[in-house]
Subunit: 336 residues, 2 copies
DNA sequence: TCGATCCATTTGATCGTTCCAACGAACGTA
DNA sequence: TACGTTCGTTGGAACGATCAAATGGATCGA
C-alpha cells in the first residue's frame, strides 16, 4: 500500500538504516546522500509508519487530555479553547493529542495509568486542578510526566510542573483601564475561598491601593447572573463608575442591572467568552495560546512553572464598553 | 517492563498464538485452556501492546475528529459536548479518539488523508457540514470511512453516512408546550437560507398550523442578542404570549426585551447551553448523546443516516419559564 | 609502514503482536 | 486397518521501524 523505509532505501541505493538516519538524525549522513534520500522520499511520498516506530521505541509522542463534563458552559468553553490551542501547537512539534473521559479523579488516574502503560500517550495535561488534588500525587508517584493547568493552591504536594494564568495581573489591568473613566471602580466577584477568585479580587485591590483610592465597592456572589444583577444594582446605587467582574457570567448579570437602571457604566468581564463578544463588553482574555505553549514546553523536563499574563480585550460598546486606550503604548490609538 | 504475550504463554504453558486466540477469538480455544490462559492474564496484569497490534493489523481502532476554532462560543459548547459524548461511548467500544486542528476544509482533508494513510485513525467524524461540502466528496473518493454530523442540505453528493438533529421536531415540541400557556406563540429565528434555521422555523409553523392558528408573529435576525432584543420587543408589542427562539443567543436577547418591558412571557431557546441554565429559561436539548451513539453505529458499514429527536428541557422560572407539563402522557402528542 | 581515530554506511537482531501453514490427536466411516 | 475431517494447538514468518555492533575507507601522527 504505502511506501516503506525499504522502498526508499532501494530507490536511493542505500540501506534502510541510512534512510532512517536521514529522517531522524540528518546531520550524521553525508550531504550528497541526504539529498539523494530525500529526493526518493519525496518521489515515493514516503511517510514513516508510526506504529512501527512506536513499537520499537515504545514512545508515542502523544499527549493525553481528559475531556471534562461541563454542565456549566463557560468553563467548558475555556477548556475547549485550551484544548484547541494545545492540539494546534502540538502538531507543530510533531505530537498528537488523544482525548479521553473519566467520571472522577480516580477514574482519570486509572485511565492515565492505562494509557501510559500501553504507551498510547506518554505525557498528560491535568486541567481543573483543585485543593489537594489527588491526581498530582498519584501521577508523580507513578513517574508519569504531566503538567497541570492551574497552580497548586496548597503547597503540600511534591514539586510538579504547572502553568497558570495570572488573574491578579488581569484584574489589575482592567481596574487601571476603568480608573481612566472614573475613580469609583467596583468589584463584583465570588465569595472568599476560591483561589482564582481571591487572586482576581486581589488585583483590583492592588490597583485601587496604588491609585490611593479606597477599595470599598466590593460584592461577592455565586457565579450566577441573577445574583450578580442584584449585587450590581447595589454597586450602581452606591455610585460605581465602572464594574470589574470575576467572570463573564457575573458581567452578564451586571449588564442586566445596567439595562434596568438605564445607566451607562463600563463593565469588564473575565474569560472573554462568546457572551462578552455577543453583548460587546470588555473582558480579560486568558491568553490560552500562551498557556498551551508553556504547557508543551514544560511537558518534558524538570518540574517548573509558568505564570501567563492575561490581557484585556477592550470593546467600545457605548453603554458598557471601555473607551479606546489613551496612551499610545503599543497599538493604534483613536479619537478620544 | 510490562508483561507480553510470551510471558503469559509461558506462565499458562501454552504457545503465544493460543494466548492471542484466547483474547481475540475465545470461542476457538478449549474452555479449560481458556480459563488457564485468562488466569495467567489476570495474574500478570497483561494488556496487549496496541502498537504491535496496530503494526501487524494496520488498523488503529481510532476515530479522528477535528477541533474547530470557535470564536462564537455557543457553537463551540455544542461541539465540545458532542466530542465528549463520542469519546465516552467510543471507549465502551474499545476505540480511542484522536483530535486535530485545521485552518480550513482543504487542510482538514489533508490532515485526514495523512492520519488515515499512517493509520493513526481509521474513521472520521465531520462536523459543521455546510452547503456543497468539499470534504464529503474528497473523503468518499478516497474511500475513507466517515460520518457527517449534519445532514446534506443539497442532494448532489454521493450517498454518505450522516446523523442530524431533527430541529423541526424540536421547535414543534416547544411550540406545543407554549400553546398551553397562550395562543399567540411567536418565533424568533434567523433569516431564510440556513438549513437548520429553516427547519426550526418550519417546526413552529407546523405546530401552529396543526393548532389552526396563524403563524404571523415571526421575526428573523442574525444570531446576536442585541438584534434579538429589538425584534423581541416588537413581538411583545404585537401581543406575543410566548417566544420560541432558534438559538439560546436569540433567547438571551428576548429575555433582555422582557426585562425592559417588565413582561412575564415564556421564552424557549435552542441548544440548552449554559446561558439557558444560568438565566433559567427552557431550551431544546439536542440530545448529543444519542447523536454520538448514532455516529458510532454508522461509522462502519454501508452509507446510512439517522435523524435524532431532540427534547425540550423545561425550566420553571417565574418570569420566562414554562409551567410543569400538564398531561402525563409520554410525549410527542399532537395538538389539534 | 603501521596502527589509531573518525566518518559514513551497512548488517543482523529486535520490539510484540497477528497471519499462515502445519501438526498430532480424536473421531467417524468405509 | 486405513483414511479423511475436525478440533485445538503450535512454530515460524511478517508487519516496518530503530538499536547495537560491525564494516570499509579516509585521515593523521608516530
Amino acid at each position: 500500500m504505502s511506501a516503506t523505509l525499504a522502498d526508499v532505501a532501494a530507490k536511493a541505493g542505500v540501506s534502510r538504516q541510512t534512510v532512517s538516519n536521514a529522517i531522524n538524525t540528518p546531520r550524521i549522513v553525508h550531504p550528497a546522500t541526504l539529498q539523494r534520500v530525500m529526493a526518493a522520499v519525496d518521489e515515493l511520498g514516503y511517510a514513516p509508519n508510526l506504529h512501527a516506530r512506536r513499537l520499537r521505541t515504545s514512545s508515542a509522542r502523544t499527549i493525553g487530555i481528559r475531556l471534562e463534563r461541563h454542565d456549566d458552559g463557560i468553563h467548558g468553553v475555556l477548556l475547549d479553547r485550551f484544548l484547541h490551542a494545545v492540539t494546534e501547537q502540538a502538531a507543530g512539534l510533531d505530537r498528537h493529542v488523544l482525548v479521553f473521559t473519566a467520571d472522577d479523579a480516580d477514574a482519570e488516574v486509572a485511565q492515565i495509568r492505562s494509557l501510559s502503560q500501553r504507551s498510547l500517550a506518554d505525557a498528560f495535561v491535568l486541567t481543573s486542578t483543585d485543593h489537594r488534588d489527588r491526581r498530582i500525587d498519584a501521577l508523580a508517584e507513578a513517574g508519569i510526566p504531566f503538567v497541570a493547568f492551574g497552580r497548586p493552591w496548597d503547597d503540600g504536594s511534591a514539586p510538579h510542573s504547572w502553568v497558570d494564568v495570572d488573574g491578579r495581573a488581569g484584574t489589575r489591568e482592567a481596574t487601571d483601564a476603568c480608573l481612566a473613566t472614573g475613580e469609583r471602580v467596583a468589584f463584583l466577584g465570588w465569595p472568599d475561598g476560591s483561589g482564582a477568585g481571591d487572586e482576581r479580587r486581589g488585583g483590583w485591590r492592588d490597583a485601587m491601593a496604588d491609585a490611593g483610592l479606597p477599595a470599598d465597592l466590593d460584592r461577592a456572589v455565586e457565579d450566577d447572573p441573577a445574583q450578580a444583577q442584584a449585587a450590581a444594582a447595589e454597586l450602581l446605587a452606591a455610585g460605581a463608575t465602572s464594574i470589574v467582574c470575576a467572570s463573564d457570567t457575573l458581567a452578564l448579570g451586571a449588564i442586566g442591572a445596567l439595562s434596568r437602571a438605564d445607566a451607562s457604566v463600563p463593565v469588564v468581564g473575565f474569560d472573554d467568552t462568546g457572551v462578552a463578544a455577543g453583548l460587546g463588553f470588555s473582558s480579560i482574555d486568558q491568553n490560552l495560546g500562551a498557556v498551551a505553549a508553556a504547557v508543551l514546553e514544560l511537558l518534558h523536563g524538570e518540574p517548573a512553572h509558568r505564570l501567563v499574563t492575561p490581557r484585556l480585550h477592550r470593546r467600545a460598546n457605548p453603554r458598557w464598553g471601555l473607551p479606546a486606550q489613551q496612551s499610545a503604548a503599543a497599538d493604534g490609538k483613536d479619537a478620544s
